[in-house]
């Protein structure tokens, strides 16, 4: 096992760059922006690392978004994400480059990977950080990690092991400006995937709207299940993205990517319209970043009312037709 006690040998910030459907994930860009900021504070540099097949063009793109250097592991054996191949390759990269901080996006694959990699590297990992800072006195990474439904944040550090690892929640930090004139060093990484026991035999992925970035989101809760088609129509008619609470994702009315809350996506729109949600803490933490919240629930005592700027006590089955005809008639 690697000796991680030589803290001073570890320098720089490393960012794991995730990509899908020919695009860098926005969470990876968000982290690059944050990493730039941390690098200024620590007077160090930012290294991006990307794994996949036929991904060389991402190197330049990541540099334009803030990486000083991008390590590219390009191989047919990395065409699909598998935990073991990605973990084996990244563990070698980290052992070789010794970053003091290593950040990954808290996506499904990012979390799958980070949890295994941290044990392999014998170091500490904090999960789904919503705050990422440097402690001035110690230069240690301090991450705010939400727990208990998202309302309480634990400020975590990893004082004695390196790298200090964290996964960062998507949609929390802004995507930095892309500067086409910005150049970085692109380096190729040797790929040795080692033993890979899992095999992806089928993959069905749709490129959807990234609801974390939507300006307006209509969110359906349990009380809107029966009217889900009308909810869609309503969302379409006002040009809104659509989100759901956890019970609706459980029923597979929408994929998990549309689930708003502490176990799903945190949305940050100008306006969130919440239909038929009761206002459980784990859900409400997902609309914390909404500028304005309108809620509709037939229960006058629903918890959600206290988390809304405007609330309507009404049967959704009666209100939606009225809304739709008003919008059509305008």
């Amino acid at each position: 096992m690697q000796d991680t006690t030589q803290v001073s040998e570890f320098k720089g910030i490393m960012v794991y760059l995730e990509h899908s459907a020919g695009q860098l994930e926005s969470v990876s860009l968000e982290i690059l922006g944050k990493a730039r900021e941390l690098a200024e504070r620590l007077a160090t540099d930012v290294t991006g690392v990307i794994l996949g097949y036929d991904i060389r063009e991402f190197g330049e793109e990541a540099a334009q978004f803030g990486a000083d250097r991008v390590l590219v592991a390009d191989s047919p054996s990395l065409a699909q994400y598998t935990t073991e191949a990605f973990c084996n390759v990244l563990a070698e990269v980290v052992r070789d480059r010794k970053p003091e901080i290593f950040l990954l996006g808290a996506t499904h694959d990012g979390r799958d990977l980070a949890g295994r990699l941290a044990v392999r590297l014998n170091t500490g990992l904090t999960a789904h950080a919503v705050q990422v800072d440097i402690e001035p006195e110690t230069n240690l990474l301090v991450c705010g990690v939400p727990g208990f439904g998202g309302s309480i944040v634990a400020r975590c550090k990893c004082p004695r092991s390196r790298p200090q690892m964290a996964t960062v929640r998507p949609g929390i930090f802004p995507v930095p400006e892309r500067r086409p004139q910005r150049k970085g060093a692109i380096e190729t990484v040797q790929v040795n995937t080692g033993q890979v026991r899992t095999k992806v035999v089928e993959r069905s992925v749709k490129a959807g709207v990234d609801i974390a970035r939507a300006e307006i989101v209509v969110i359906a809760g349990r009380g809107a299940v029966t009217y889900f088609d009308s909810v869609r129509k309503f969302a379409d008619s006002i040009g809104s993205a659509i989100g759901v609470t956890r019970p609706l994702a459980d029923r597979e009315l929408m994929p998990r990517d549309y689930q708003v809350g502490s176990t799903g996506i945190a949305v940050t729109p100008k306006l969130a319209i919440v239909l038929g949600a009761s206002g459980a803490a784990h859900f409400v933490s997902g609309i914390r970043g909404a500028k304005t919240v309108i809620s509709v629930n037939k229960d006058p005592d629903a918890d959600i009312n206290a988390d809304a700027d405007y609330f309507v006590v009404e049967d959704i089955g009666r209100l939606l037709p009225a809304l739709l005809s008003k919008l059509e008639g305008k």
């Binding site: 899908s20 459907a21 994400y81 935990t83 499904h108 694959d109 799958d112 949890g115 941290a118 044990v119 500490g124 990992l125 999960a127 789904h128 301090v142 939400p146 727990g147 208990f148 439904g149 998202g150 944040v153 634990a154 400020r155 975590c156 550090k157 990893c158 004082p159 026991r197 899992t198 095999k199 992806v200 069905s204 992925v205 490129a207 959807g208 307006i216 006002i238 956890r246 459980d250 994929p255 990517d257 176990t263 306006l271 319209i273 459980a280 784990h282 914390r288 919240v293 509709v296 009312n305 809304a308 700027d309 405007y310 609330f311 309507v312 209100l319 009225a322 005809s325 008003k326 919008l327």
Partner: protein, 262 residues
């Protein structure tokens, strides 16, 4: 086939209060429950047992107040329950937790499948399942919603961004199970009485397991929690809109326009 189901007991999130004075969590008023995704993992294990035979072993790490919840799992249909309980385990982050649980899994032995919930509702890291897989050097599939076993191979449906993938892996395998992928059964009434009155839970201490004392509990943790802060609740206007559905619709459309500054 032997399936080990890892189970955590958590306080109900909505019952936990934050004490502004001491900046600590007040769990005294909180009712506890089996972590919901762990219940989904147990349900999946029980369904697999119905199809393939074998046994289901519950494994948990925590104080003795966890015992009634393990008995509930037994009442649902699990065959055995082991509680890892020792003061030396306290204060563990995900690194020593996954190490301690993995060590217990080795001691149980002869397993084909380790099922965990995707994450706990209190700390919500989801890091323990991949950690256990790494300690055991077995393959992992996280965020799984369906699992079929054929011979010594598993076929799993895994949630990824924008959809799903089907993953095949040899046993033994660790899988973390998504909350809401099934409806956990209610305990059988008679079995529940037996589980509460007669079933014997196995308790293992650090000494029973032969764990490395430097790798467990707070001593084995790499991360420290400096402080807890409560995120301020955004201040909302809480204005009620009233009227007939038609009048309400007019006002809502007006608010939509206002939100976009037109």
């Amino acid at each position: 086939m032997r399936t080990i189901v890892c189970m955590k007991v958590v306080p109900k999130t909505e019952d936990v209060r934050f004490d502004q004075q001491t900046r600590t969590l007040d769990r005294s008023g909180a009712e506890n429950e089996i972590n919901q995704p762990d219940k989904s993992a147990l349900e999946m294990a029980l369904q697999l047992k119905e199809g393939h035979g074998g046994d289901v072993v519950l494994l948990s790490m925590g104080p003795s107040f966890f015992e009634p919840y393990l008995r509930l799992g037994i009442a649902m249909g699990a065959d055995n329950a082991i509680l890892l309980s020792d003061r030396a385990f306290a204060g563990a982050d995900t690194y020593p937790t996954s190490y301690t649980i993995a060590t217990a899994i080795r001691k149980i032995g002869n397993f084909d499948l380790v099922l965990c919930g995707e994450e706990s509702s209190d700390a919500s890291t989801g890091q323990v399942p991949p950690g256990i897989a790494e300690w055991l050097d077995i393959p992992q599939v996280t965020y799984l919603s369906q699992l079929n076993i054929e011979g010594s191979m598993a076929r799993a449906k895994r949630t990824v961004k924008g959809g799903y993938e089907i993953v095949e892996a040899p046993l033994p395998l660790l899988a973390s199970v998504e909350l809401g992928c099934n409806s956990p059964r209610f305990p059988d009434f008679r079995r529940k009485r037996w589980a509460e009155k007669e079933f014997k839970i196995t308790v293992w201490t650090a000494a029973d397991m032969g764990v490395n004392p430097d790798k467990i509990g707070s001593k084995g943790s790499h991360t420290t929690v400096d402080e807890l802060v409560e995120l301020p609740r955004p201040s909302r206007r809480m204005q009620r809109i009233t009227g007939s559905p038609e009048e309400e619709a007019v006002l809502i459309v007006q608010k939509i326009k206002e939100a976009f500054g037109s």
